[in-house]
Symmetry: C2
Subunit: 197 residues, 2 copies
Amino acid sequence: MGVGRHREFDKSEALREAMAVFWLHGYNATSMTHLTEAMGINKPSLYAAFGNKEKLFIAAIERYASEFASPQLAQLTADGLELRQRVRGFLTSVARLVTNPDLAGGCFIAASTSEMNGDGLPPQAASAVSEINAGSTDTLVAFFRDEQQRGNLGEKASPEALADYLRVLQNGLAVMARDKVSLDRLERLIDQAVLNF
Amino acid sequence: MGVGRHREFDKSEALREAMAVFWLHGYNATSMTHLTEAMGINKPSLYAAFGNKEKLFIAAIERYASEFASPQLAQLTADGLELRQRVRGFLTSVARLVTNPDLAGGCFIAASTSEMNGDGLPPQAASAVSEINAGSTDTLVAFFRDEQQRGNLGEKASPEALADYLRVLQNGLAVMARDKVSLDRLERLIDQAVLNF
DNA sequence: TTAGTTGTGTACCGATCGGTACATATTGCT
DNA sequence: AGCAATATGTACCGATCGGTACACAACTAA
């Protein structure tokens, strides 16, 4: 504990609430009043703890990435499954996430990427989103390279193209979820998408 | 020509400019000042001609659908090509649209669908977006049913699942374009996606 | 020529935006 | 006890939001 009065709210829980609001409404449609009400704190406390709207957004989306997005990748390396089944597991867990009625709906990162045009996002926020996207793609490229080396993928297959293929499906699923397409339909679509593997 | 002073601007060209602004920035990040400046008119003229922000948005996205989205479907019925090549042509023309540097970037409909969460879009605007999406899916379902009847598709194939599969790719391509993924990469990804047909 | 109708431009409305000044309350350190 | 440091709550800042009142200009019909 440092010197001075102690913070009366839990910074991590407040950030979780902010993440949910940004996830649901996006950057521009989220007001500081929305945020302070959801977080249960006043504006000066918010600014003291998180800087400003843009910095709070960046903290929120990075938290989302580590808490919701990254864990999906674990499905790709599940033991004792064929590559196709592991890819299906990955995409299915994405579909479950974006349609989960207990969460905000869709994918926070995909929605922010859609908002990232013109001056839709302030510069540092846009950079943060781009870096997260690039990191996801890099991880998938490395995964497919590894699978290829293990002989689970033809010599002629392109890890880069396969990574982009999974990314396009991931982003597309997020958009479909915003249009209230059911999990069942997403799963049938995934069955189609996975025939390539 | 009716009674009274004549309109000094071209309503159709003004709508085209409004479409470009909404396409680039989305609904919430677009202000009436943005719009009036791009359209070259004053606010009372805008409100007299288009009603309000929401109605202008609806007119803009319906114009987009008829001018940019619907024509893509023509690729699916091109003469003398195998089904796979026609699907590739459809997806490639989507990729060209969403990466066209002379246009706003991404897909207006996909971006609006992403924004369509919580109160991200006012109710009538959200309904308009949903109807456009449903219409696109219906058209694709009808197309695949027809192809199946012609024997270009296995008996066990599901037109509904295939339609959703194309829709997820279409939406995903739009999001990737907002992240500045190059047309070349999108085309390689499409080569992967099209192996199912 | 005149009356009625419609578009244009200015100037403004209340509400909300992101962000902050300031007084007060609570803490650790001396 | 008293000082320095940090947090909280209220009340406010200028700017911008979507939308409109009003005076005036331009047009058709009679």
